[in-house]
């Protein structure tokens, strides 16, 4: 995704341009808000203050961001290997199963700091396992990973409904969910960190897995740009022929990459199940896997970009909820639309205003590439 046409100062490329795109996205959203007869200014105000204005709002924003960081990284890792993993949703779902099993087994006998790492490991393992078959088929049979991962999303849904309704549900309870986890499986919230800053997270479910997400981001960066295996991943992604020439084993690399990708998705369950819901119930991924695609692409598949994009989506989720909460005739569909417009302008149309900026900022007389 190299930007077309002339060079720009980094702060313009990575600061001003995205900012302009966001502004435009919100302007267009504002028109829609007007259309349904609400005040755009009021709306943006609710949205921003709702997401960032209070400790609690910020807490929720970062909580959602945590989930999106995981799914975003998952998509990005596969992308670097030239694989389009649409299976995040299913990998999160099944990852949740792993997390829940550990939690149910240990929450009464172990403290959280024992349970959590094991749950994380299980979530990673289950998520990875769910990516294994598509990965293997791609590597050895060349079956298109886009189809197989789509199919595995549906299969995951069926599997989980079956388990939650027929196996893991508490007798007599109406809702298809496991019993509530007890303290031994609940992650500490981060209120204590923010209170010194005078921020009260209130009941926001922001929890330690936020740090796991950031750590994963860093590890992914190391993996992709600083390890030999990452080099091999990127080579296959950029030029499979050259990869074969370089003696990089396609099948092996593809499989391992997808395992990592699926595992990262699976980790998201930790944030949601042990960080907030305290149980495993149907439908808990609620689309985070798909949001991950947008997050990864808008973050240009780079961890830093992904964290930023994830926070942006966290703001849209939390701010959107606040907005819908306070302005009665703004429904959740409105929020979905705004998300769509942001993806459109900040993502697909990211270069629309670039030529204009180039005309403004283009450094004159940049060094001409000299031929041999």
């Amino acid at each position: 995704m190299s930007a077309p046409f002339g060079q720009l100062p980094r702060w313009v490329d990575y600061g001003l341009l995205p900012f302009i795109n966001l502004v435009v996205a919100f302007l267009v959203s504002g028109l829609v808000v007007l259309f349904i007869g609400a005040s755009p200014l009021e709306a943006i105000n609710y949205m921003v203050t709702g997401a960032l204005g209070s400790g609690e709002g910020l807490g929720f924003t970062l909580y959602y961001a945590t989930s999106f960081i995981f799914t975003g990284l998952s998509v990005a890792v596969a992308f670097h290997c030239g694989l389009f993993n649409i299976g995040g949703e299913g990998q999160v779902y099944v990852g949740g199963l792993g997390v829940a099993l550990v939690a149910l087994a240990l929450d009464r006998i172990m403290p959280w700091y024992v349970t959590a790492p094991l749950a994380a490991a299980a979530g990673f393992a289950f998520g990875a396992a769910w990516a294994l078959v598509p990965a293997w088929l791609q590597a050895k049979r060349g079956s298109h990973i886009v189809i197989t991962t789509i199919m595995f999303n549906f299969i995951a849904a069926s599997l989980m409904v079956y388990l939650l309704v027929n196996v893991m549900k508490q007798p007599g309870s109406m809702s298809p969910q496991t019993r509530l986890f007890e303290s031994g499986a609940l992650l500490p919230r981060l209120g204590f960190l923010f209170s010194p800053l005078g921020l009260d997270l209130g009941t926001a479910p922001l929890n330690v897995s936020f740090f796991l997400a950031l750590a994963s981001g860093f590890l992914v960066w190391v993996l992709v740009w600083r390890t030999r295996f990452g080099y091999e991943i990127r080579t296959i992604g950029a030029n499979p022929t050259a990869a074969a020439y370089a003696g990089i084993r396609y099948g092996r690399t593809v499989v391992i990459t997808m395992l990592i990708s699926g595992g990262l998705a699976g980790l998201m369950a930790l944030n949601v199940l042990l960080g907030d819901h305290g149980k495993l119930q149907i439908e808990f991924p609620s689309g985070a896997g798909f949001v991950g695609i947008a997050v990864a692409l808008m973050g240009r598949s780079h961890p830093v970009g992904i964290v930023l994009a994830a926070i942006l989506f966290g703001i849209l989720y939390q701010g959107g909820a606040e907005l819908a909460f306070w302005v009665p005739n703004i429904t959740r569909e409105m929020i979905v639309l705004i998300q769509g417009l942001v993806i459109l302008f900040a993502g697909a149309l990211e270069y629309m205003f670039r030529p204009a900026l180039v005309r403004l900022f283009a450094p004159r007389g940049a060094a001409v590439l000299r031929p041999a």
């Binding site: 886009v146 429904t331 417009l341 993806i343 993502g347 629309m352």
Partner: protein, 324 residues
Amino acid sequence: MDLFDTLLIPVLASTLRLSVPLIFTALAGLYAERSGVFDIGLEGKMLFGAFAAATAAAYTGSAWAGLGAAILTSVLISLLHGFASITQRGNQIISGVAINFIASGLTVLLGNAWFGQGGRTPQLPNTARFTEITLPFVDQIRPIPVIGPIYASVISGHNLLVYLALLAVPFTWWVLFRTRFGLRLRAVGENPGAVDTAGVSVAWLRYRALICGGILGGFAGTYLSIAQSAAFIREMSAGKGYIALAALVFAKWKPVNVLGACLLFGLLDAVSIQMQGKRLPVIGEVPVQFIQALPYVLTVILLAGFIGKAIPPKAGGVPYVKER
């Protein structure tokens, strides 16, 4: 013979009905991707089409007006996708994702603003729908064993769009392989440079391909909301766009294979519907969720077992940039 009537015939008929939206949508994707533009916004196109069809039909009371509106809307969405991914050289996948978000939000929003039923459109009378039509000579042919019932109950008795879907396949084949437009379309998906140096505009060609896709997307949506159902319901595309995408890859981007793939998906679905709640020999009662997962499992198995590598159009997904 009894099984033939009570099981096979219904399953085949149901197969046909279930494949129609997939056929339209997969063909829509075929035009786009053969021209080198990925399109995972199919889901959104279908949804917008369905909404437009139901809305127009509700206001005008005419199914044809509905179809027209659906096509118009879906084409507009395609143009948006084109503007983002052709003119602005944006990432085609992001653009598609964005369109899907916008579709699921905007349809409900507008529907609610216009009809105040949470995005649902008013219940349509049959006069405002595409209803089932009976082919000629049904009664004469029905008595004939085997072909009779098949003609009467599988081939006949569907709404117009079903037959249009079946016609769309050979038509698409003809366009692709027998017309100038088709030749250029296939070329631009493989090597835009060749098209450009032949003095044909790459951008305009791709736009036209997307427009074709838009038209078909409109048909798909119309089928959902005013042929199969009598109203638009939020999210009613229910993931069919993604299945169609899978069918397209499955079919290796070839029109006739698309028909095959979609019918296959339809069949698997129809079978799973029939099998629900039935006791199977040996296994006995199978949990419904397993039956519901069956089509997807089988797809994966077939894919791995029989369909080799699917090689997408070479220039697919990359915006055409002459000057780096």
